[in-house]
Point group: D3
Chain length 324, copies 6
């Protein structure tokens, strides 16, 4: 049973990934097991009220478990009371199948991106990008990676989705400003976040790797791009420099870890297109959650430093009774 389909006061059975597991003091038995479960459709809180210590030893965070449970509500949120639990072996279930996943057709996005690569006329950029997409490891990772641990596009396929969107936006920006170098901007858009393939891991949950924490995806992505460029005979030094600069500066300001501010028109365009895409994705995601919960305002977001308005679209009437 998909998590998105669970309703309160029903019986539930299914396979779920254990995102978090903690033994906590409290409850009638003195201690209980507090879990967060997920599948590709969502997350849910779950409790084991009896034999917490013993049951806790049967599986780990990152395992997939088979459960039988009762769905309840607690403080307006759904919660499972687990009654039977069985850990599945890696042969029985692949944890990564249970992570949140893009709602888009990833294969179609992938094909679209390859078409875009083919449209690049500059032979060096064309070669660089084609080589990357011919590398089966790169392609597998690029198609499955999330774009972030938590903030935006944080689901399987999120990086591909984000990259495709940034490429589309940059295409429009070139139409508006023909003085921009289209090939350079599109290549930068495709490459800007490839460092995330090394910065993040997404096997059983979305995490930073140690290298990712210590170096960051800007530096790692620029290194990867340079490696590819070095393999192409006659790749112009100056072109490599402009690409390096775009990748390193795409966060736009020092505070977000760009060691250099954008100093070319293509670099500033990429930064703003990328930021626009990430922010609109965040806003729509937050607002969708609030609307599902029937709330007019989202929770205050620690990074955005504000609550968002999820009120009715135009035409649905207002009803202003205070924010709550």
């Amino acid at each position: 049973m998909n998590i998105a389909d669970i309703t309160p006061q029903t019986r539930v059975s299914g396979h779920y990934l254990v995102l978090r597991k903690e033994v906590r003091q409290g409850g009638r038995a003195g201690s209980f097991l507090d879990l967060t479960l997920c599948d590709a459709t969502g997350r849910v809180s779950a409790k084991v009220w009896d034999n917490a210590a013993a049951i806790s030893e049967q599986f780990q965070q990152g395992d997939v478990i088979e459960v039988s449970a009762a769905a309840e509500t607690y403080r307006d949120e759904l919660q499972l009371r687990l009654e039977k639990i069985r850990a599945l072996s890696p042969d029985e279930a692949n944890p990564s199948d249970f992570l949140p996943r893009s709602g888009k057709d990833l294969a179609a996005l992938e094909r679209g991106l390859v078409e875009t690569v083919k449209s690049i006329e500059n032979p060096h950029l064309h070669a660089l990008l084609l080589n990357l997409f011919k590398d089966p490891d790169f392609r597998r990772d690029f198609v499955t990676a999330p774009a972030a641990k938590a903030l935006h596009h944080s689901y399987i396929g999120g990086l591909l989705e984000h990259t495709t969107e940034v490429v589309e936006l940059c295409g429009k920006v070139v139409e508006v400003f023909p003085a921009l170098d289209r090939d350079l901007l599109i290549a930068g858009a495709i490459l800007h976040d490839i460092g995330k393939l090394e910065e993040l891991s997404w096997q059983t949950s979305f995490e930073y790797t140690d290298r990712g924490q210590l170096l960051g995806h800007l530096v790692m992505g620029e290194q990867r791009m340079r490696l590819e460029a070095d393999r192409i005979e006659g790749f112009p030094e100056h072109l490599r420099l402009l690409l390096s600069h775009m990748i390193l500066s795409h966060h736009g300001v020092y505070e977000y870890g760009s060691p250099k501010l954008p100093m070319t028109a293509e670099a500033i365009a990429l930064h703003h297109a990328e930021d626009l895409d990430a922010k609109v994705n965040m806003f729509l995601g937050q607002i969708a959650v609030a609307r599902e919960q029937g709330r007019k305002w989202t929770e205050r977001h620690f990074l955005l430093q504000r609550a968002l308005y999820a009120g009715p679209g135009e035409g649905e009437g207002e009803g202003d009774e205070g924010q709550g």
Copy 2:
């Protein structure tokens, strides 16, 4: 003779607008007249070395003058040595014809924007925008106003150009994120800077009005939009609120004078599209100036806090000899 066409060591005659006029001490005669002249194609520095005091009384800043002069170079920049000067009456020359002017076909942009207005399906937004464009004063101002005193699109027609570009970008953003309300976002894009019509004056130079300085175009634009909405029977209160919020929050952060941060998806999309357009316009403008002067780097920009790279496009070779 257009200013853009003047070359050193030639004779020059023509009509130019006096942007700046100062009597300064120095020169062989003890004092001289230091001017900045412009026409729609550019600006040039000019000097009158003799009879400065007497000649200075014949015209004012904001006048158009007829001159005969010698073109020289001083410190790598073009400079006119004025020999004959005659002030033209308002009947002879309209100062606003001499201000820098968009290179785009403004009539075509205007027609395009009206087409966009017609494509809006929401009847209230459709009516509000049509009414605005039916107002001849609004339309005349909207088509001629600059988008800023100095930073970006600061030329006659700049506001129309900027608005058109933001509308185009927002159209693409809606394609990428269909969950956005297209009509609301496009209407916000068209309206976001209408306060500039009252914030700026552009008769004989680009200046802030007193009201513009004391209130700002965010508040003034929101007021103008609200006036129009109030004239439309049955304009939904909630829709007006969402438009007001978009106009007031479109600078995106408090530091740039938005009294509220964007809190809807359409508001954040508008802010980022508008910022992208302004910044790319600034970058391309700065870079073009440096390239004309044969320099690889622009001057450090006080607002951007950096110099921009105006080096050769890919394929033209590098040549790294230090920045100078």
Copy 3:
């Protein structure tokens, strides 16, 4: 029984407003009801240990309830153990009577403010303000509204109290600086926060309205003032501009949502008088709470980013044993 008069280890009965209601897991019965109650004299935490789910359905947040209870202490704070509960109908009790309320004589403050209005010599300002106070809705709201949701003067009558204090301080500032325009400054002081009447709601609790969150009281107050000015024949454009600027800039800095910095002497005087009043009110309020609890230091305040010293006044001896 007033909440301010409850002492530990006694029986309590009375009518209280439910500010917050939550069912929580824990306690011997598995779940309990956790409430915050208030009346005009203060707030108190309350618990229902038995039949939480059933009892929870009998009333909502914002209702007034009749209770019989035992007063206990928990972690040095007073807490009620509720034994009997009955929800009162709106006929039986008006929730707004139970909200925290200014300790000042509000009717006297109201009379004083009207006297001040009458002392204004400028006929346009005089008319504008008199008209406002003749509007019975405005007057009712102005006399009851809090000045803020939480930070300062956050009690029924708080806006009237705050406004009166700012007017008094501005009167003194004019004495010190006779070059200031008294009528303009006093009018600005009276009008500066009238947008709060639309930004906040204070029927059953203190909340932001949706419009308040999306537009803010600076913009809303300026609009209200302008509406009034437009109704007065011959109201000078320039005077309206100066008032608009004062209202919009009274937060003094961009970071607190002023779209413009104060640029006139009256605007800067208003900002500082308003800030002084708010801050001293906050400090005295925080310190009073700590002294009631017998503590020398207040809790660290999230906005002030500091704890305040509530130690003894001079002459009462020190006793420095570390802050705890």
Copy 4:
């Protein structure tokens, strides 16, 4: 002839203090002498076109000179063309008589402040302040010192004027908030800037002393206060602590050199009263200068980061032709 009374195109003779003296290259003679002169009524630029080197050796910055000159205008500002110059000996003229000076009756302000001191009921504070004012050096300095080198009240008597104003404002604040300790707040207001007596020198110009630069008037003023308190038998430790805290924290924020944020109600009240007084003085001063020059806007102020509006008071009509 007072500088304030000089008009263009007249002959001028008088005694002036030399605030600045520079030999510069230029002019017909190859070099000229560029001076700034002042007296108690204002400042004026002056030039010596001939024999600059020789004349320069006859006097120094800080000297008073007797001149005979022609008043001219240069770039809209008055300028003297000096023809005869004679340096006056200290016996002939006291430089400090030529520094800008408060327009208020300083003797009256001094008497008023002493009356305020006498009204303080707390015997220790009463004694501390009386002792200070009995010290003839302190009193002489306190009555003549400027309150700042340049920003606000930067004229002879400025500190006395500023202190008196802050005391008046604090008196009003105590009326509004009777919970404040009046004696403590008034004493803090009188003492808050006494460190300026050591931080600044004002013999021939307004300068920082080395000690002032290295320690600052907050620390120096607190030390002076403590010295006085130590001389009074039985001065309560706790009272001294509260005074020390007020003086050290009166700049209100770390960025302006307060080592501690205000943490008592009296300290926050003092900070805001002091800030209000300084800012209104700055605004009125800047605006008065612009109005004298017939300008609607002041120059952009480096510290305030804005230009101020010096437009007509209400009733005088507007006339909005752009800021220039």
Copy 5:
């Protein structure tokens, strides 16, 4: 039994200081006692599950208690289940013996510092420092005080340890930059934090004193130094000024409470040496804790705004499985 030596699933008995004591609701008996205990080797959480109210009355925070207990683990951390408790009288146990304590030989550090004092050639600085160390109260406090409440060197002897380290580093800085005044820099290093003796209390826990909170150790230390200098005949005014400046500016920036920025070479050297020492101490402390717990990353640190990498030293192999 030392806290550092306790292992899970064993019996524990010993004397410990009560750092924190709270009665909390929950557990089978309805309420329980939640304690933090410490001795010189570490801290441990402890619970009393029965008779919480009665037992709570037998001792206070800051008391030393004798306990018999069972060691358990809860959420990966050690926790004591207390079974017998007896409060010890001050005669039986000195609370300060139970506070965390430097691992260094404090007597050796003390001797080393005195040797350094003797090496100072400037007779005034030599005398000032010797006098301080001859004062038995100063010496006892200086040898036992922590250097901070929580951030770095926050253990008995921490101030001595920190001071010694800063002195050592400054000694090296003088070698590298012989233009520095060695005696001045070393004296500043020894004196820079002596205000902490008054800012902190460390009898039964590490706390700020009221005076410490209201004045800060920069101002208090500068006062103490000045008192000592005043007792030495002929102590040069200028030397005292330079020392005062060093102490007041040693936090380096306004944001951390320095009323003045370092403006001499010795002051900037002291600031950086002090900051280096504090930061490396913090980093090593945080990393050591994480390594003991078998974790590769520390908790995110609120002041440092980052997690630290506690991964294996070089040669021990990596193992990058995501941060967790």
Copy 6:
């Protein structure tokens, strides 16, 4: 004749590098040539009053010229009046011999650094560093490069001097904190600024390269280090990661272009040692300049945002007459 040895009112002849050359309007001939000349001992301003245009064509910025001149003073600064000028060919003079140069024995510093490399016990770090120093291009550049364009150690040999000092300081830090990994910290200290070899050019003046501006020395240095590590068989991945992190994070904060904050103890130690060295070098340099000019205060420094005190060392007496 060395520039450092020139005195006013004497005849001068010698070879100097042209750092800056401008034709300016003014002077008796209508235009003149304004130059800045330098040699290894300092800089001096120079003028050519006659035939400016013709003479200007005989040499370029970056050339070495032979001059005969008269030394004068202008505004308290030395200035040359050039009478004869001859441009030298590259065969006659090497421009880099005329750039400011470290006062230290560079060969000795170089030997010392190689000795330090040899003392590193970790075989991989030992090999990496030895290989670098065996590369003759690297060694030549490393020994001659400045450490910055302008701020600190901005002279030939400055990078070697700075690196040596940081290595020395880090050696001391390891003594104080033996838990640090000595080899790692020393290797990081040697490598931290090697990116400057590509970021700067120092043939005829100190400039940023285009690549340096667009990528920065942190990223370029990390790349260079990684290239070297890749050439060493078996170089541990984890060790390379720690070195990369140290180089990338050594600016310590995002604002100065570090894409990552220091997260290891060695990284934070390196950052602080490097910062200490740079700042003390800057302070001593600024103070030395002021003392040579007989001033007690340096000019306000744009980056440090303060003036520095260059007053007399202790024992030389004070003399506090205001800062001027």
